[in-house]
């Protein structure tokens, strides 16, 4: 075992910790950002340190430092224990972690082409060519392109005997074009909103995305939106593309199944959940066609790993089974509190200086049986929406409103004219109960959400969400321009 880690654990125990764990993490991040024809940023970032979590008298304390010498290991361990004792001053219910976790081993994200080995010049050239193609389209007023590579190297060890080593590699990339004119601003993005999609793969992800080949189309769609009619207001049938549906799953299923927020841990910040424990196993969350999973073993997806940040092995569970709510995302403490036999392994920390919280892994809508063409042909009257533009949901995860970059009307089973400023709104279980068709595995993609926020101090987590296009009946659309 790493000397620093062993020393920190020994010190924590010597100071009175009944349990302690240490994570030593090094994160490397490489970003190339092109904006309006110039390379605005090429940066190579490194962030490293270690954090100690100590349980004393049933209460938690955590301390972390960027320094990694022996004296700091002692000081940080002592600070974690002292902090835990201070917590015990305002503490009612002792933390119980359940059965010990003694995982051992190593995990590495499989990659075909190490993104850090790809010459920066190759990445810059690709983004500049894509950017140039977008800017050739008249009325495009701003453009962006980015490629992001992340490598997390982390060691976890606990006083229970766990010792895991992981190297998680992520690659992301994307382009955006914004067109302005006639008092209107419209943006199109590819392959996902927020400037990029991101996955646990190597540079092969960027090659497969083929940003350059999509650049002209993206720019032309942004311009076409300027003159497109507004999305009409009303109640209609809605078909969502996979990327928008991935965010819908994230917000309206992924967050409310986080067991810590169900118990109130996030009440002052991220909120609570309508999926209270009395609803587990019984609540009708969606229609019979709706099955959702949390799967940290999904190859290539952004929330995939070997063990979570408590050393619990990555797992796949059902969270909604044929419409019925059946499972939570858990860490050890909250799983134990609910009386579960163990955690399903969703305790994740954003870095060395943060504690693990219950976070999404890859929360996905399982594929159905439809082809998209057949689904549209089966729809008399409705709207198809694609690529997220705005998102908002209440603090119990019920009332949501989303906007998309682009929409098309559907008339008589055919995709019709372009619509702009599309929005839709609903109440989570009513919405998922109205789902009557989901496209098949050929249309299913594991999308990445690299900007999921939770916790105080804030932690930004990278999560994955598999989804294929799906149809919903009786949805309110066109809430705002």
């Amino acid at each position: 075992m790493d000397e620093l880690i062993a020393r920190a654990l020994d010190t924590a125990v010597a100071r009175g910790a009944q349990y302690a764990d240490v994570r030593r993490v090094r994160q490397e991040r490489q970003l190339v950002l092109v904006r309006n024809g110039t390379v605005e940023s090429v940066s190579l970032e490194e962030d490293a340190g270690f954090g100690i979590r100590a349980l004393v008298d049933g209460a938690w304390g955590f301390a972390a430092s960027y320094k990694t010498d022996a004296a700091e290991a002692d000081a940080v361990a002592a600070a974690a224990v002292r902090t835990a004792r201070a917590s015990a001053r305002v503490h009612l219910r002792p933390v119980v972690l359940g059965e010990p976790v003694r995982s051992r081993g190593a995990y590495r994200t499989p990659v075909q082409r190490d993104p850090f080995a790809v010459p920066l010049d190759e990445q810059i050239s690709l983004l500049l060519r894509s950017d140039e193609a977008m800017r050739r389209v008249p009325r495009v007023t701003s453009t962006t392109g980015q490629i992001v590579c992340v490598r997390d190297t982390k060691t976890f060890a606990s006083t229970e005997g766990a010792l895991t080593e992981q190297e998680i590699v992520q690659t992301g990339g994307g382009i955006t074009a914004t067109a302005t004119g006639d008092g209107e601003v419209q943006r199109r993005s590819y392959p996902n909103s927020g400037g990029r999609n991101q996955v646990c793969e190597g540079y092969e992800f960027v090659e497969r995305a083929d940003l350059e080949a999509n650049a002209t189309r993206v720019a032309e769609e942004a311009v076409a939106l300027l003159a497109a009619p507004q999305c009409p207001a009303g109640v209609t049938t809605l078909i969502l593309d996979g990327s928008q549906l991935a965010l819908q799953v994230h917000e309206s299923c992924g967050h409310p199944i986080e067991l810590d927020r169900v118990f109130g841990s996030e009440a002052a910040y991220a909120g609570t959940s309508f999926l209270t424990t009395d609803r587990l196993g019984a609540f009708r969350y969606g229609s019979d066609v709706v099955t959702m999973t949390a799967d940290a073993t999904l190859p290539g997806a952004l929330g995939t790993f070997g063990w979570d940040d408590e050393g619990v092995p990555a797992q796949r569970i059902e969270v909604v089974k044929e419409g019925r709510f059946v499972g939570y995302l858990t860490d050890r403490e909250n799983a134990s509190r609910l009386g579960l036999p163990g955690s399903m392994g969703a305790a994740r920390a954003s870095g060395w200086n943060r504690i693990p919280l219950v976070r999404m892994t890859n929360v996905s809508l399982e594929p159905g049986t439809w082809a998209l063409d057949a689904l549209i042909a089966d729809t008399d009257d409705g709207i198809y929406m694609e690529t997220n533009r705005s998102w908002s949901i209440d603090d119990r995860r019920l009332n949501f409103q989303f906007g998309t970059e682009v929409a098309y009307e559907i008339k008589g089973g055919k995709r019709g004219g372009l619509l702009k400023n599309a929005t839709y709104t609903g109440i989570t279980p009513e919405f998922w109960r109205s789902c009557d068709a989901i496209c098949d595995r050929d249309h299913w993609i594991a999308w990445g959400t690299p900007n999921c926020g939770k916790g105080q101090p804030s932690q930004v987590m990278h999560t994955g969400h598999g989804a294929a296009p799906a149809r919903f009946r009786g949805v309110r659309v066109g809430v705002a321009r």
Partner: protein, 449 residues
Amino acid sequence: MIGEAALKAAADGVLRRARRAGGAGAGAEVVLVARDAALTRFAENQIHQHVGERDVDVHVRVALGKRVGGASVNGLDAAALDRVVERALTAARLQRENPDFPGFPEASPLPAAPDGAGYAAATAAATPEARADRAGIVCRRAAAAGMSSAGACSTSVREEVVANSAGTYAYQTGTTARLLTVVSGDTSSGYGDRQGPDFAALDAESVAEEAAGKAERGRDPRDLDPGVYDVVLEPYAAEDVLSFVAYLGLQGRAVLEQTSFAAGKLGQRLLSEAVTLRDDPLDPAGLVDRFDAEGVPKRPLTLVDRGVVRAVTYDRLTAARAGTQSTGHATRGASFFGPVAAHLSLEPGALTRAELIGKIDRGLLITRFWYTRPVHPLSVTVTGMTRDSTFLIERGEVTRPVKNLRFTQSYVAALGRVLGVGREAQLTDGVRTPAIALGGFTFTGKSDY
């Protein structure tokens, strides 16, 4: 605390390494940010998370002519400084020329901050036990009312250095302390939040009383149909309106890229005459900041004067593109977010809270907005929910609590219909604002709680 001497030595070391490795023509900039931060988090009337960290980030940009590369590490040891300079130089060598890159700024005199502003010894000395005791005050008040509190008490000390090869050197230190809580009952909740440089000034009793009192008054809310209502926004909600208008509209990049409502309209009255909005980084009642991430001095900037948009915020790159000067708003996230104002301050009016409410015949008193996101950038149309107690106002008086509502509203249009501005400003999420009354706010949905 690392101290200025050690940080300056590290900054000098970075510039020396850059000069040695990059040659005489290489320019370099180093930004050091050191922090000791701690946070005591509570829920269900007990502490459930309690954390502390020490870190120091080193951000370096190296410029070879107009080719600029960046790198960062955390740590001040020689090997870390070697690595960060080498990587920034590698990135610069692979870069294309950025014709707009204006170079690194020469030294400028920094504004004098009011004596002692921005730093409080009590914050730097705050212990886990002291934070836990503040949390305990809130937890006991909520428990006494049969309710549940959740929240956080945080303290941090930060030191910042910006230095560059053109002669700029700037150092500042500051502290922040904050106590916030949501107190929840069976059918309602309330919010309280105080922040500032001084931990000793955090009044836990008043935070607890505000949140618990609000939750008590908000019990058993009734349904209200969505529609258009006049509103009084408490400072927590007003902050959201001001921040989005500044972020999406009153910043240089949005103007350059024509996504701002103010593009081509500087000097025009675009908001109500009651709106005078400044960015004031030297306000001793706020979180004092004397220079930006490029070492450019920060000074108070009037963005909106009685409804007329007078200025937008720039860093050096966007200023060069716009043919103007930096206003001191460079941030390390500027590549993504642009040069944004971080010390907004709305000029208070003359009205008491009761007088603001008295302006409204039938409308809503809003404690707080939640999960607000832009729907359309040009009009700063935003959607979000109300949270932590909303009340109906009838004939100038608060009459009863109502269930939460979703709004979809242009914040620019809303700030064109100001009915009144409160006289007591509060610092919330870094913005200093009083409560404001706005006409014709559009609510588009509702919840069942």
